[in-house]
Subunit: 362 residues, 2 copies
């Protein structure tokens, strides 16, 4: 077992040892768990990411309100320890089923709903300072990548520029990938697989010397870590292409600042210098997309209002200007609206122009 | 341009020429469109697939109820012709935006909603006898594959056994893939990407000499065609692994018999000899999954009732027995319930046993 794995194991074992020590001393066993709630989330001006505050709550075994969660925390820690020992990875759903068993001598299940095991796993990430991936629990897998990059993964050498029309399927866990050769002036992440196929067919990454990556909607944790590793280790800028709407803006927000749910992980996941390439309100007139706007519904407006108020957007003048312009527009626009200008307008004109002119929101 | 492409182009051109001929003769231009509705869908006992009947409706230009659809049909045919000529592919959303323009001299759009362009595209498939893929319009891309298969795609040679933890990302269009080497006793398609990652980590395809493939939920058209090509061209059986519920059964139903919406395409897409491997009601007791059942809600029961009544299931004794057993069980079960027996129970015990004993539903 590698040294890295050993450190992960010992973080889990010291959690268990601490509990045993307390029991031997005749104390009420407790686990200190940082509070995961908006009340304990702050925006770190220095790192420019969403961060968890210092508030901690103790979880006691002898406390009717805590006992079950205490047990669940140790159960999930034990499942994770076994996964590490067996060198295997499980999904969140797997962990739920592994934890879902009756407490001996009772008719009570350790967990009844997946939300319970998910929640204690998030606690465990904080308690051990290990990410879910390091605890060998994987998130969903989705997305493809292409570009002039060669990696080594599980003993295979994989050239992202030689994978036909499909590209490499991005796994849920990219921690152990080794980069052998990385070329590319930038990485373009887009929220739609269909747009990725368009750019791939146009050999966009080859012509523009870049890397193209996509999932469907929110970037998976695997993708966020892959983006972060490439930008940190090779200093390649990341540009994000989304629809012009609040969901698109939130996809960007999560990649850049981290998410509220996983504020503790911002350091491992956020990419503070990622740029938003489009679609911007200013693109509508510039690229003649007026006829392809989709009028706002109530939900669009309320989501826009929420996002404007996020601490990390609140003092950002550029973004506030964009949010107001979007509100005044009263409509959203999709990336594919560009197809109205011609099937390869996006590859031949829109993207090269935007990138050349550094027409980003940041 | 290849001969195949030329045939596709001439199918579209003869549609246009026919309309021009009618105009020149002073006739009311018409396009004969097969009716796409349950009333014109039948189960073909010979090919064992869902099939479109012979009912045809003429679509007239000089008919207030038809005029717009007539125009839309020709517009989408023209978009497809341009895609073929440019040798490019578009998504359904792209086609919508390309068709969404004002009719000159009016304020009326050719299409206002994507459902309109989608619908005439489905008509066009019937009129021209070309699939959406042959018309160069791609469906969504999703899914991964691994196994001892080497393909050639877009000039790249891709070995599905040497792609690390990610696998090959399956494109939306697999018509032009060339198989260079195909080994494997069977193909296992599963409805969950997380299960695929489990089997891949366990090197299941290597140990069992098979091919593993997955998307998320319903198999995409790209996957269905890939499964069909492999089974037809290399005579490899396909096994499907789904949750034990009506949605899982419908995933199997679509792969085996074709879908109601695309009944005309069954010949190109259906795989009449595909087997359903699990999860079966009989597995619940056999593999001790009783504690992991999820109680039926009303929607589960009503969907089960619908599926039982499908003509292609109605006279199938094995499946009817399973549907009744599921109704009596009054609960569903997920593939991941097997994880309660151990993280690799599925790879080490469940799948090998089921396959060895030919414990399939068919």
């Amino acid at each position: 077992m590698s040294k890295k794995k050993n450190n992960q194991l010992s973080a889990l074992e010291s959690l268990g040892n601490e509990v045993v020590k307390q029991i031997n001393k005749g104390k009420n066993p407790e686990i200190p768990v940082p509070i995961r709630a908006l009340s304990n989330v702050e925006f770190d001006e220095k790192t420019k990411t969403v961060k968890l505050g210092n508030k901690i709550a103790a979880r006691y075994f002898f406390n009717v309100a805590h006992a079950k969660k205490f047990l669940q925390t140790l159960e999930v820690a034990s499942i994770s320890k076994n996964l590490l020992k067996e060198e295997k990875h499980a999904s969140l759903r797997d962990v739920f089923y592994m934890a879902k068993r009756t407490i001996p001598g009772t008719k009570v299940n350790i967990v009844d709903e997946q939300t319970e095991s998910d929640s204690v796993l998030e606690d465990l990430e904080l308690v051990t300072d290990l990410s879910r991936e390091q605890l060998h629990v994987n998130a969903n897998k989705n997305g493809s990548v292409a570009g002039k990059v060669v990696i080594e993964d599980k003993g295979d050498t994989i050239d992202w520029s030689k994978l036909g029309s499909g590209g490499w399927s991005i796994p849920s866990n990219v921690e152990n990938i080794k980069f052998k050769k990385v070329a590319g002036k930038y990485i373009l992440y887009m929220e739609k697989a269909a747009v990725w196929e368009r750019l791939h067919e146009d050999k966009f990454w080859d012509k523009q010397n870049c890397i193209i990556m996509s999932s469907q909607g929110q970037a998976t944790r695997g993708i966020r870590r892959l983006l972060q590793r490439l930008t940190k280790e090779y200093n390649i800028p990341v540009y994000v292409l989304t629809d012009l709407d609040s969901w698109g803006h939130y996809i960007y927000s999560v990649i850049r600042f981290g998410s509220i749910n996983l504020a503790s992980l911002s350091e491992k996941m956020a990419i503070p210098d990622v740029k938003h390439l489009g679609i911007h309100t200013a693109d509508i007139g510039k690229y003649k997309l007026e006829k392809h706007l989709i009028k706002f519904k109530d939900t669009d407006l309320s989501r826009l209002k929420q996002i404007r108020e996020y601490p990390w957007f609140k003092d950002n003048k550029e973004w506030q200007k964009e949010f107001i312009a979007l509100k005044n527009l009263g409509a959203k626009a999709e990336i594919q609206a560009l197809s109205s200008r011609g099937i390869s307008f996006i590859s031949d004109t829109y993207l090269p122009e935007k990138i050349k002119n550094k027409d980003f929101l940041y």
